[in-house]
């Protein structure tokens, strides 16, 4: 009998679990106080109710449910009308005090059988462990819960506030799965992560997956590079996508950037990286919409910058051909940035994407360990979606884009560099191309002229200097 995967109602968590919780399974959700166990369990409980199921939330805690419910009311998943019919909060604390673990089993059996619960949450496994006379008692208790869950086909979540997982403890060896929630400070950033350390019967995504607790409850961000590679989206053009900068399409080999490719634009501050991106977006149309994804304040500055340099974006925004999105800098994780970007691409149907300010992502703690794999996965997904992507990354005047080992440009299909050189009283901007995906390009550095209508490619620098 193949066990059915039951959705948690959190699609990204289902993705991590290989489809969801397996029917009749008993799972430990473990984490220190404040790690998000109660929120996760309540969110899954309300999601189960929303699908027509019934849930019993059984606590072994001395405190009342009222306080917890007050906290849950602040989340969008909370539905007052679900309580107490479809979602029943019940305390087994008295039963534990009077009859020990056998009393708790009676409460659980009655809740499951009488209410025909699809999901049981038992909050307070540490209390149960403390009340058991020996490890054997606890083993029997977990075995009873497992047997009941199997007989009835309901899922059981055991919430455990024990900090350190001990893989040899009876409850850990017996259950069908263990999910650990952690929170930590990483170089002054607060980061929450979920890790599946055991899961029977399904292919799960191992590793630490970051999550955020917001108004909608827990929002998961599975590691991008851990996801299976999906096939190319249908109907993807393999032509060229115009750069929007007069003269640059010719430098790129004719016609602009290869459609569905990723281009790195690197250069020192103030050399025109953002302007090249804004030109690219200004060429968006209703059938080829654009998206600006700003990773620093540049997202907010796009409109004033474009207005100041004569690049028309306002009309495109009005027509719905352009969307400006951004990502707050503080507190986010590498994967959250990736998910927000991909969600914005999917939501907007964008075909032209400009990611501005990539250096702020490179500064994230996880970047050192996962940066290359993360961007390889992110770029692969953007290509798969048929998106032509440009990203800007700040470089030092000596040509180093980023500290050694942190380079993103080599992962791109195409690489442009913009520079500014002082010639007398004037700074002369230039653009050069070091690679274009599977095609010839003009390797010569050209002047990048700033006009009242924005940028345009001028003469080759050598020729220009020869003339002067």
């Amino acid at each position: 009998m193949k066990l059915q995967a039951i959705s948690t109602g959190i699609s990204t968590l289902d993705q991590i679990l290989g489809g969801g919780l397996l029917e009749g399974g008993v799972y430990i959700v473990q984490g220190a106080a404040g790690s998000g166990k109660t929120i996760l369990a309540n969110q899954i409980a309300f999601n189960t109710v929303a699908r027509g199921g019934t849930v019993a939330y059984v606590t072994l805690l001395a405190e009342e449910h009222a306080r917890m419910m007050q906290h849950m009311e602040t989340f969008s998943f909370f539905r007052e009308d679900a309580i107490p019919g479809a979602l029943h909060y019940v305390s087994a604390f008295d039963a534990l005090m009077k009859e020990g673990l056998a009393g708790v089993v009676k409460v659980l059996s009655a809740e499951i059988r009488v209410r025909k619960a699809n999901l049981i949450v038992l909050d307070g496994l540490v209390t149960a462990a403390g009340a058991s006379g020996s490890p054997q008692d606890l083993k029997v208790f977990i075995g009873q819960i497992q047997a009941i869950s199997t007989l009835v086909g309901c899922n059981t979540l055991l919430l455990n506030s024990s900090w350190a997982p001990t893989s040899t403890s009876p409850e850990q060896t017996m259950v069908d799965g263990i999910v650990v929630l952690r929170q930590q400070l990483v170089r002054s950033r607060h980061e929450r992560a979920l890790e599946v350390i055991k899961f029977r019967g399904a292919s799960v995504l191992y590793g630490a997956h970051t999550f955020r607790i917001g108004d909608d409850g827990i929002e998961m961000f599975p590691q991008l590079e851990a996801l299976p590679v999906a096939p190319l989206a249908p109907g993807i053009s393999r032509g060229r996508v115009g750069s929007g900068v007069p003269g640059l399409d010719e430098m790129l080999g004719g016609g602009g950037y290869p459609a569905g490719s990723v281009t790195a634009i690197s250069g020192p501050e103030g050399t025109g990286k953002t302007l090249l991106g804004l030109h690219f977006l200004a060429a968006a149309t209703a059938v080829e919409p654009g998206l600006l994804f700003g990773l620093d304040e540049s997202g907010e500055m796009a409109e004033p910058i474009s207005a100041a340099f004569g690049i028309e974006l306002e009309g495109l925004k009005f027509k719905g051909a352009l969307r400006l999105a951004g990502q707050p800098r503080f507190g986010e994780s590498l994967d959250e940035v990736g998910y927000r970007l991909l969600a914005a691409v999917r939501d907007s149907g964008a075909r032209r994407v400009f990611i501005d300010g990539l250096a702020s992502v490179v500064a994230m703690p996880a970047y050192e360990e996962r940066g290359a794999a993360f961007f390889a996965a992110l770029f692969r997904e953007l290509r798969r979606l048929g998106v032509t992507t440009l990203f800007s990354v700040r470089a030092t005047p000596d040509g180093t884009a980023l500290p050694p080992g942190r380079e993103v440009a080599p992962l791109a299909d195409n690489s442009l560099r913009v520079d500014a050189t002082q010639r007398g009283a004037n700074a002369v901007r230039s653009v050069s191309i070091s690679k274009v995906q599977a095609s010839r390009h003009d390797p010569t550095s050209h002047e990048l002229e700033l006009t009242t209508a924005g940028l345009r490619v001028g003469a080759p620098l050598d020729k220009r200097h020869g003339e002067t």
């Binding site: 009998m1 089993v105 499951i112 059988r113 029997v140 009873q144 047997a147 009941i148 007989l151 009835v152």
Partner: protein
């Protein structure tokens, strides 16, 4: 309500099964193996025996053979539950009234109990 004898060596599984069946009003007694179950027959006078197959001391098939050879209890319906497939127990089918492969759902068990009690419930002979 009907008297059931659960023969199961796994304590947790027996506890869970007993707890759920008692909620449905059954009078449940438990035995940890086939030998102990046979010893308890006179006292419990079960209307139905729910037994595991593989158990220490005496397994479910041996127990069923012994019960079928005892005129007083020969007609007590025996429901066998096991992780092995029904075909593996084909040679012993005549000893058993019904079979449920583990893991099973409580609804399937209750339906089988209802069927067996309805058809065979009055067949217990006086000891």
């Amino acid at each position: 309500m009907a008297r059931l004898l659960i023969v199961e060596d796994e304590e947790a599984a027996a506890d869970a099964l007993a707890a759920l069946l008692e909620l449905d009003g059954f009078d449940v007694t438990r035995a940890p193996n086939g030998k102990r179950a046979i010893e308890m027959l006179a006292e419990v006078r079960p209307e139905l025996i729910i037994t595991d197959y593989m158990m220490p001391v005496m397994d479910g098939i041996e127990m069923a053979r012994s019960i079928r050879a005892t005129p007083a209890y020969a007609d007590v319906p025996i429901l066998m539950t096991s992780g092995v497939s029904e075909s593996a127990l084909k040679a012993h089918a005549s000893l058993l009234s019904a079979f449920l492969r583990k893991p099973f759902r409580i609804e399937a068990l209750l339906a089988t109990i209802d069927r067996l009690l309805l058809h065979d419930g009055d067949q217990i002979r006086d000891a």
